[in-house]
């Protein structure tokens, strides 16, 4: 009965936050522990979806849409293509972990403990006690304000141009690196 009263006492924001967090963290754990690459890629998509839900609780609807389009719609697809291009026969008997797993596990746990101590001390601080209310007009204009920031010389105009150079370099680099060097590829023959 106490669990039921706990459930009914939750606000809609808390419900969405809890569900999205469970989806994000659970799917992330599946990505890290699963042996099957395809299942890991699908879990990665679920994890991205959970993060999009978190963005919605933070009143960033356009970013949630961008998350869906870029991370789920493009980056996950690119990863799945890479899996299909480099696939070889399943070797389930092989350990999924690398040769430095002992040291790696130690470093990861140590990092977690350090950050957890800092966060726990910070919890309950006064600086961000409540979410500041935002006027509805500001929210409905948020996407337009982003566009203004992109091309404002006092804000992000220069990084915006630099990012296009990055896209140019990534396009040429990615296609040049993945270019087949000879007509008949030995890797394709073996497949």
């Amino acid at each position: 009965m106490t669990f039921l009263t706990f459930l009914t006492s939750l606000t809609s924001e808390q419900v969405v936050f809890i569900l999205a967090s469970i989806l994000t963290i659970g799917a992330a754990l599946v990505v890290v522990t699963n042996r099957n690459l395809f299942h890991a890629a699908l879990a990665l998509m679920a994890s991205f979806l959970g993060v999009a839900g978190i963005y919605i609780t933070l009143d960033a609807g356009f970013l949630a849409a961008a998350q869906l389009l870029v991370y789920i719609g493009a980056i996950s697809i690119l990863i799945i293509f890479a899996i299909m291009v480099t696939r070889r026969m399943m070797q389930v008997s092989e350990s999924p972990f690398n040769s430095q797993r002992g040291l790696g596990f130690f470093v990861a746990v140590a990092g977690f403990l350090i950050v957890a101590v800092v966060i726990l001390q910070w919890f309950g601080g006064e600086a961000f006690a409540a979410k500041p209310p935002v006027a509805p007009a500001v929210l409905s204009n948020a996407v337009a304000a982003l566009g203004v920031s992109f091309v404002n010389p006092n804000a992000f105009a220069l990084p915006f141009i630099v990012i296009s150079i990055l896209l140019l370099a990534a396009l040429i680099g990615a296609i040049y690196i993945a270019w087949p060097r000879q007509r008949i590829d030995p890797a394709e023959d073996e497949a």
């Binding site: 963290i25 994890s47 480099t86 596990f105 304000a145």
Partner: protein, 102 residues
């Protein structure tokens, strides 16, 4: 349950980042490494958006767009490298990619 304050978002972001770092440190498949790096970038985005909301400043959201762009460029080039490595070594096991060790 206490209201959802920024500490909850920070905690979620830290947990996501550490799961991603565990994936990078422990797994042997290079593509899983890239998935883990994407999760770590996502956790950074989460922090940007949370602080943008709690500080009432939209600049954090603009930075998220730059992070998304960098992530897309990074994954395109990185997976191209993996494809090229696979073509020469027939393996994407990071334990076998050790030519730079000397």
């Amino acid at each position: 349950m206490p209201p959802v304050t920024i500490e909850w978002y920070v905690a979620l972001s830290v947990i996501l980042f550490l799961i991603g770092s565990m994936g990078v440190l422990l797994r042997r498949n290079a593509i899983i490494l890239f998935m883990s790096i994407e999760m770590m970038l996502n956790s950074a985005n989460l922090l940007f958006v949370a602080f943008a909301r709690y500080l009432g400043d939209l600049d954090g959201q603009v930075l998220v767009f730059f992070v998304i762009t960098v992530a897309a460029a990074e994954v395109a080039v990185g997976l191209a490298l993996i494809v090229a490595i696979f073509r020469t070594k027939h393996s994407i096991n990071i334990d076998e990619i050790n030519l730079m060790k000397g």
